[in-house]
């Protein structure tokens, strides 16, 4: 109970430092990245109703969503563009953090969480690309499997765990689907909540 109260108070305190209100200081980039994540979650949920992973079904279900399902094309476009914009806002957010020295102690732990989130978001973007199930995604999956396979000792097992068994013609597998829709978003959401909590815990934004 005390932990819950502490968490809520840090996420939504009654007052914040006045300098946190300056749009030109933060450019709201962290908040916009989270908004993009929410849009991705909502549109992704709608896409899941019609998407079927698999070498033959992945690409055909994408075509069905894009051209047959009512508003499916717009929802898919929104999912795609929110994903692209999220990568842009997250990168700009990191640039802003470096520019304003916001990575320095006592915020070094939150910086590490931010770097982990960046990596997760890149993985989310990549797995989303594989799920299209096109020839290009098959080629990307093949490259990724070969790269992971380079890791001495654990490479082939890790590749199997991360990608399943993609073919050269399609990267859409059930394993990639579960990573993209369940595992990675859940970890990213938990890390984001911790990231927000830490911002308040470490004292919010600081002057240059």
């Amino acid at each position: 109970m005390r932990g819950q109260k502490n968490f809520v108070n840090h996420i939504r305190p009654g007052f914040v430092p006045s300098r946190a209100l300056s749009v030109l200081y933060t450019f709201c980039l962290g908040g916009l990245s989270f908004l993009a994540f929410v849009i991705l979650g909502m549109t992704g949920l709608l896409l899941m109703f019609h998407y079927q992973p698999g070498e033959s079904t992945g690409f055909s279900s994408i075509l069905t969503i894009a051209s047959v399902i009512p508003y499916g094309g717009v929802i898919r476009n929104l999912h795609y563009w929110a994903g692209q914009l999220m990568v842009v806002t997250v990168n700009l957010h990191m640039l802003r953090v470096v520019w304003t020295h916001a990575y320095k102690p006592p915020k070094q732990l939150n910086w590490l969480v931010g770097v982990a989130l960046l990596i997760l978001i890149l993985f989310l973007d990549f797995t989303g690309y594989l799920l299209i199930g096109s020839q290009e995604s098959g080629a990307a999956a093949t490259v990724a499997v070969n790269i992971v396979g380079l890791i001495p000792g654990v490479g082939s097992g890790l590749a199997q765990m991360l990608f399943g068994e993609p073919s050269a013609l399609s990267g859409s597998t059930l394993v990639v689907y579960v990573w993209h829709c369940v595992a990675l978003p859940m970890v990213a959401l938990l890390l984001q909540l911790y990231h927000f909590w830490r911002i308040r815990r470490d004292g919010g934004v600081r002057p240059l």
Binding site: S18, L21, C28, L32, F59, W111
Partner: protein
């Protein structure tokens, strides 16, 4: 330290969110996300990586796989993660300049790849 009610922050974040939503919706209505080439079609000779992974594909193109795909990405991620400690070691100004230069270069490359991809949509 001067403090303000959080509702002022929420108002500003809300306004920024509305602009972002409008921009995102406009992009979704104007530009259709590519579906790529069907896996039933004749095979594509060269598949370009999506713009986000453009710099990574360039590394793979010009360097041996173990260097471009493992060593460099690990060094970049390790460098990013270790920034607070490297800043202490190298001195604040020089480390900040190095990382800003690196990040601006990567961002410029990313924007270049993105513009190219949108151009061809």
């Amino acid at each position: 330290m001067a403090r303000s009610p959080i509702k002022h922050l929420i108002e500003k974040e809300g306004i920024a969110s509305i602009f972002f939503l409008v921009f995102c919706t406009a992009l979704a209505l104007k530009f259709t996300a590519s579906v790529g080439t069907s896996n039933q079609a004749p095979s594509v000779p060269h598949a370009g990586a999506p713009w986000i992974f453009g710099p990574f594909q360039m590394l793979l193109l010009y360097l041996p796989p173990w260097l471009g795909a493992l060593v460099f990405p690990i060094l970049i991620i390790g460098g990013l993660a270790g920034l607070p400690w490297l800043a202490n070691y190298w001195g604040e100004k020089s480390s900040r300049r190095i990382f800003m230069a690196l990040m601006v270069t990567v961002m410029a490359l990313l924007i270049w790849f993105m513009v190219q991809e949108v151009w061809w949509v």
